[in-house]
Symmetry: D2
Subunit: 363 residues, 4 copies
Amino acid sequence: MAGNTFGQIFKITTFGESHGEAIGVIVDGCPAQLPVDIDYIQAELDKRKPGQSKITTQRKESDTVKILSGVFEGKTTGTPIAMIIPNEDQRSKDYGHNVDVFRPSHADYTYFTKYGIRDHRGGGRSSARETAARVAAGALAKLFLKAKGIEIVAHVSSVGKIDAPNVSIANVQEFIDEREKNIVRCADPATAEEMIAFIDGVRKDGDTVGGKVSCYVKGVPVGLGEPVFDKLHADLGKAMLSINAVHGFEFGSGFSGSEMRGSEHNDIFVKNHLGNVETVTNFSGGIQGGISNGMPIEFRVAFKPVATIMHNQATINSAGDAAEISGKGRHDPCVVPRAVPIVEAMAALVLADQLLRNRASVL
Amino acid sequence: MAGNTFGQIFKITTFGESHGEAIGVIVDGCPAQLPVDIDYIQAELDKRKPGQSKITTQRKESDTVKILSGVFEGKTTGTPIAMIIPNEDQRSKDYGHNVDVFRPSHADYTYFTKYGIRDHRGGGRSSARETAARVAAGALAKLFLKAKGIEIVAHVSSVGKIDAPNVSIANVQEFIDEREKNIVRCADPATAEEMIAFIDGVRKDGDTVGGKVSCYVKGVPVGLGEPVFDKLHADLGKAMLSINAVHGFEFGSGFSGSEMRGSEHNDIFVKNHLGNVETVTNFSGGIQGGISNGMPIEFRVAFKPVATIMHNQATINSAGDAAEISGKGRHDPCVVPRAVPIVEAMAALVLADQLLRNRASVL
Amino acid sequence: MAGNTFGQIFKITTFGESHGEAIGVIVDGCPAQLPVDIDYIQAELDKRKPGQSKITTQRKESDTVKILSGVFEGKTTGTPIAMIIPNEDQRSKDYGHNVDVFRPSHADYTYFTKYGIRDHRGGGRSSARETAARVAAGALAKLFLKAKGIEIVAHVSSVGKIDAPNVSIANVQEFIDEREKNIVRCADPATAEEMIAFIDGVRKDGDTVGGKVSCYVKGVPVGLGEPVFDKLHADLGKAMLSINAVHGFEFGSGFSGSEMRGSEHNDIFVKNHLGNVETVTNFSGGIQGGISNGMPIEFRVAFKPVATIMHNQATINSAGDAAEISGKGRHDPCVVPRAVPIVEAMAALVLADQLLRNRASVL
Amino acid sequence: MAGNTFGQIFKITTFGESHGEAIGVIVDGCPAQLPVDIDYIQAELDKRKPGQSKITTQRKESDTVKILSGVFEGKTTGTPIAMIIPNEDQRSKDYGHNVDVFRPSHADYTYFTKYGIRDHRGGGRSSARETAARVAAGALAKLFLKAKGIEIVAHVSSVGKIDAPNVSIANVQEFIDEREKNIVRCADPATAEEMIAFIDGVRKDGDTVGGKVSCYVKGVPVGLGEPVFDKLHADLGKAMLSINAVHGFEFGSGFSGSEMRGSEHNDIFVKNHLGNVETVTNFSGGIQGGISNGMPIEFRVAFKPVATIMHNQATINSAGDAAEISGKGRHDPCVVPRAVPIVEAMAALVLADQLLRNRASVL
């Protein structure tokens, strides 16, 4: 039973392989009357696309999105919105050598064994190219959330062992502007420089390295999240873990919270000068009992290093015989700069879905 | 749109509040002809129940489970299996003082604001008591998995800053036996002693502390997991994050994998002496491209410290006025020993569901 | 993949067999703050229960319902509501002769072949006893709908070839009162008498006969229904066809509409004296394009004759050898009087679900 | 919560409006390794397309389908299969007069009121054009079913009050050949002539008329159907009722079965000369207890007359003021000849889904 649909109400279904004709998505359940800014959607895609800098893969795709349905005179009609992105720069011959060998730590072996067949070109459906469709859908979700006063922003907070200090999200636009000034998408300029130099070195080694993306959501109303299984942070975790190369998710105090005492960790409720409920600290990351409490949501996503490296590696073929694989094709030395819009998109999909689900909570 | 159902095929729906009549679950989609060992289910529940040791809450519940349907002459019929666990030791007057104040870092405020009403007694539906129903259902899933050669085992790997070394899972029964010899459920005896002493001290301080549970799954066939959204590790992550007090999930190399290079991180395929495909290392944690590759699955779950402490805390009431809460009732100084069977149960539910979903993969 | 859950938002899952301990249901997604009238729920169950008259089965069950969760101080909390109905009058020995023969036109053969095992006592899960759980859940849905001004009423419109004339639903309470005055639940007294006499004769023949139930929904707002697949009448059709013994569903002009011309069939829009949109005729049965248009919804459900008759019948056993079955046990000569509350309950579940789904339609 | 997805495992999501860029579908969950015959899919679409004869609408569309993903070297990969059909012959100016009036018995009023916005051109999403996407997906399902020995065939059994006699399905190909020889798709040649003459007369009157489609499924294994809510006939009923203009569904003995006695209606089990279980009669329509019993499945679908007629009709506009609508555009005098492939497609989708669901029934 395939799993290519995400969401219960704001529901997306994606399709497409790395070297197929096109990739795309149907968004069902987007509420009617939302103005659709196609330039905004394209701009989000541009942040994800390959060939954007020296520290990302050199595959050239314009990732030009086209809307085929569900929008009339610039607004959503409440009917399904199909968006399609043609593939332009497939270099399938680059993968000719891959037909019968399994690249280490890729999905070749598992897809082939599960389905008995695989599209080997460019990783087929397992390629991160598929995430372009998610970014398109997520952009639509972000437009909906903006209309409701909810903002989502993420940045690269770690590359390898290089960690950025916390950066204030008091002014979201400034945060984004600072982040977009550098090609690694870190909102702290000094750390960004260090990261870029490091990644460039890794690239020259023909190697790859992992990193972390931190994400923040502001303006969340109280009440989003559906216990006991569809808690807001559980949905966020599933969304993030479904992104290629993700190996970990934490929110609020995260893994380090497990080392703390309750007397240190509890967030005390107060009413602020505007009469709104706040907490003095926010180890809860904006979510308590699986439901948003109005404080900013904060979470972090850990990405492993991309598996394709420019070194020869030992492996096996489909008969189980020893074989060798040499790194070919075009790949990212570090995926996290391009992952920032994907993380934001997945967060937007979760928040949009939960916002709509919450409308059914009370008589 | 409430979220009290988990799973697509092996699907459970739970009900019940901390101080209500009973808690329970309906398991739909359990395949027919599975022999049901009620004693096994009860034994799993016994590992979760309160009042089991000096380092857990002193609420006394027998957590006696009863099967009401779906089993005939000792085997599942393919029809829904309802299991019910009566509540025995509700002490609702302990919560009389809670009617109108919001306990810090609990779900009181969020539930009240979301629904406009809340059952304040014992935390209502937000209480971890609800997890007993999950353990009952998970036990059934474990019986199904055992019949298919799949074993799940977890233990407490951290309490506060005390970390256990890795313990071999080569012999699962020995691991379990070692773990069950101590009340903190850590399979390393020396660390267990240290943990127990530490928790006892925390308890005397009227405080609480967090910890981590590590879980392993052996005997997984290749092919479980449904990309792109229902990847095996994404489903596991959502399952774990839905457990009370969880703030983080990681699998395989986890967060530290983000600091590694691809040349270090890649798991090389080989064929072993039995002719089966293996990987030399297992940073993938048994999952590649979201699909199991046959290697043991490994993941870790981080629990924050329980929010109820035996100290007075400042807070607000429903009118927003300042109030004070004194710690009353019966609570856990450290929840992770009782979380071990819950983690195993949720893992079993995911694996059972994915095992059945995979039957539809090929013509 | 079992199918014991109905609904997307107002979602019910039922359990229980005819001769098991109990039957019951979990209702998830009922909005919070709805006052729950347990006497109302019991009264609805009383209309369905066996042993209610000489023209229904003589099995004696009180069908006493108990709520185990989800209600606090008389109102729904937004958490799952579990309701349980113990079985009292199982006479399993009546079915001793059934262990290995397949009753004609029952589900014995199909269940046994599908699952490889079956609970033969009283028909197990395939027994109509299961519908008591639906009536309990549907009663809760009806309370929700009443709070929103929506009323559902049904009656027996045909028994065998005896058809009642149309009865006005201008005053719903009068319709119900008239219907409840007779044991066949037909709102036209003259036809009711004819039907009762006929059924009594059929009963004395040891035979059974079918019939039809007509159902009406008043006060429906415009906009319920989710094209293109979850159209309101499609959801109603599935709901009705899931009831035991149902072989047909039609709404509005139904099957006879297929014989009409567009010039006769079209419902012309007008604005009435209150300023509300109406149609001059209502061949649409209150639904256009799968969405309610504010006119009363009307549909009819056809029930085949119950398969258990008090005659000997030829059949086969599980080895395929010829066998004979003699009618034993307690059965209905005509099921439709007891089906009226089930039809209303299923309609209520569909309407409640669609009402909540519609909250997500617009920005 | 929109309803543009159908199926649980073999799951389709459609998109597209009558006058938008394109219509299409994503099929998720089609098992891997199925050979895909694109010519077969196109041939199925050709049976549905407009402009095919004098008794259907004169809109000219080639309905040329293109597969964008999920197929590699001619076989399904287990990944989502996207199929797209461009719109060619939109004549939006034909609908210019419709912007602010509600056509009687169409979906204009309900869509506009539900969403607050509607694409008026050609009926937007409510147009039957959307069914082309279903036929494409259903063709894929039919290929899967053929590989499993299951055949589906339908024909027009009634137009207005003209009913065809039963036609044997002993030889499916002959049935189809006979049906395709005439433009009304009735497998009885004499009745077909009568029907065509009648429809032509209705067309000249500028009017429309309804009809019925009868459908048969052969080669169904025992065991398909998921009680209690997803019974096979309940899923079929929902599928058929979701098709534009459908007002009724019945299977087996249908509505006339409600007039019969159990002693007449029961289907007696026997073992035939091949050793297979059969029933002497088939009033059950091949389904008992909601599960297929191996006998041919038979059902009938009733279509109301299309609402667009070439007469002036009174109506209202969005302000509620009286208005007039004159019939313009291109329309079908009788939709049922084009509905035959749609009915077959929906039946195929249900059967394919249930076939896959049944794989999870037993240990």
